[in-house]
Subunit: 348 residues, 2 copies
């Protein structure tokens, strides 16, 4: 919202497509042994030996998934990578490579695209990911980013969504709902700014929420932690559309039921106080908010001692027989059926 009007602006057409790709990717190093050939040929070449390959992809559209009036391009690049890595970690895998395709209208300068790639590069460096290819093209309006992430995993370590069994414990990482509230805070500030362009945004009270929205981290650390604790989840998914939606994916694919306890859902104090300020129910936000990129998984009860007391992991419920349904057990000890209310981009 606070934009430097004097920023440098180089037209992209000067470079041409291949020049642009070369320019943007030249400082991306190759660090994974499995990357045999990255950017620069018809296809990248990967070698995974005895391991299995994981592939996942996400498409982000300006005006649908992000708003550049409060999402800095560097953060956007970082987040676009996180969204994809999160899916690889949700398989219990190790993310190793990405391809990045972007479409941009002529309102974006070279400097703007460099910012985007700076965020992509920071994500690659932090998570040890090799950029191996992509496509760069023009769009008629706005920006689109399509990323495909590739990972590796040993066959016996793969965790699908469909392995949850009755009596398994339901575990979530981190805390929930903050990313959604961060978006609400940013949307409100945008409206204030549009009404009065001299207003200075005061986000100090919301730093955690805004960071969760603008710079989420995929939970690679959890995959490593579970390995260290010798815990293999029976089912796992990442929380992109909201807790309720993800629970329903696990229970429907595993053909089980679930009891989720409202009072166990981990919430950050800033999230709770901001829910009060916005007059929204914190549980509803945690259930339906989305974009947390935490991991939700089920473990056998016999593994409980291994995770007990770990500050990253919270047991929020347990798996039941399918016939018992999927329920939220409220603070008042009422049983309420969980219905998907996750963010649905096709029903705006």
């Amino acid at each position: 919202m606070l934009k430097d009007k004097n920023e440098q602006r180089t037209s992209i057409s000067k470079l041409g497509e291949f020049g642009l790709i070369k320019h943007l990717t030249k400082y991306f190093a190759i660090n994974n042994e499995s990357t045999i050939k990255g950017v620069g040929d018809d296809a990248a070449v990967l070698g995974f030996n005895d391991k299995k390959t994981l592939v996942t992809t996400d498409l982000l559209i300006e005006g649908v998934h992000f708003d550049l009036s409060y999402m800095p391009l560097k953060h956007l690049g970082y987040k676009a990578v996180m969204v994809n890595l999160s899916d690889v970690y949700a398989m219990n895998g190790n993310a190793t490579q990405i391809t990045v395709s972007i479409a941009i209208s002529n309102r974006f300068s070279l400097e703007a695209i460099e910012e985007l790639y700076a965020g992509i590069q920071l994500a690659c460096n932090t998570y040890n990911i090799d950029l191996i290819g992509g496509d760069t093209t023009s769009s008629r309006t706005g920006m689109m980013i399509s990323i495909t992430a590739i990972g590796e995993i040993e066959q016996n370590k793969i965790v699908y969504r469909n392995g949850a069994k009755p009596n398994d414990l339901l575990v979530v990482t981190g805390d929930l709902g903050a990313a959604y509230l961060g978006l609400q805070v940013l949307e409100r500030e945008k409206q204030v700014f549009e009404a009065n362009p001299n207003a200075q945004p005061d986000l100090e009270m919301y730093t955690y929420l805004v960071e969760r929205q603008l710079k989420p981290e995929a939970r690679k650390d959890i995959v490593e932690l579970l390995e260290k604790l010798t815990v293999k989840p029976t089912a796992m998914i990442d929380i992109s559309d909201g807790l309720s939606s993800e629970i329903l994916h696990i229970t429907s694919q595993s053909e089980v039921g679930c009891n989720l306890y409202e009072d166990k859902i981990p919430l950050d104090p800033q999230m709770i106080s901001t829910c009060e300020e916005f007059n929204v129910d914190a549980t509803t936000v945690a259930l339906s908010g989305g974009e947390d990129y935490e991991l939700l998984f089920t473990i056998s009860q016999s593994d409980f001692d291994k995770i007990k007391g770990n500050p990253n992991l919270t047991v929020i419920g347990h798996i039941t027989d399918k016939s018992e349904g999927v329920n939220l057990i409220t603070r008042g000890n009422q049983k309420v059926e969980i219905i998907a209310q996750g963010w649905n981009p096709l029903q705006e």
Copy 2:
């Protein structure tokens, strides 16, 4: 251009995102042994054993890469897959899986997206490809398609762009320039139709050109043919941006020069006659037209006898020392330096 006004129209929002994905992918079978888990989890799981994995991706934007006023959606789906498979074949590999991400505005009905997927499915069936994942989202305007193709190859069979050596022969498959001319024909018919909506397009004289534009085939058959002939190219690339641009990729990455003979470039008779009609130079169209999706490769002279007389393969030049430059030898025996004039989406 001739649209049935009474076509059925089902709103996509009725299905929701997961309903839509399920609906669109339910008739896609899994045929490749390397596909362990396809659509339906956080990531797909692939297993390639001792082979190397190939990855390539392309992004197609409405109004930039395709015009739905003359590109039927089924053809668009088919072509979007071909564009990606072509890159895998250009590595001498076997394409095995794709992910498909689409963004669509609310002007598209379910029936329209089904048409798109019918084309994708036809491509998958014809080329033995498994659809293993993707993303489906809304766009503010128009349609975008992002496809990532994955393939497999034995290490010793990989053909990069950088292996051409002086005295190698330069070989091209099929014929060139027809896809570009097909586009010109369709653009002209669109203008006629816009001026007079009752005009019936007469494309009979241009069937080959239009088919090359609307329904290109990736040259999987050539990879199989080369295997059968026991010819391993020293360098290979697919022709998406035009012959001159691709020759320059091979020569610059291989650090060699090249002499290309104008009179050897394979042209279809319909292409030649239509060039006359449009008053454009056939050689220029072949050099700069693009979208042919033929393969361009170099082979050792000692392999010449193996390919001699094959109607699919035409020797169009030979590799020289870098110092000799990259030249077109004209029919009049003049030497003209080749400069890239390939289609550049960032310089419209």
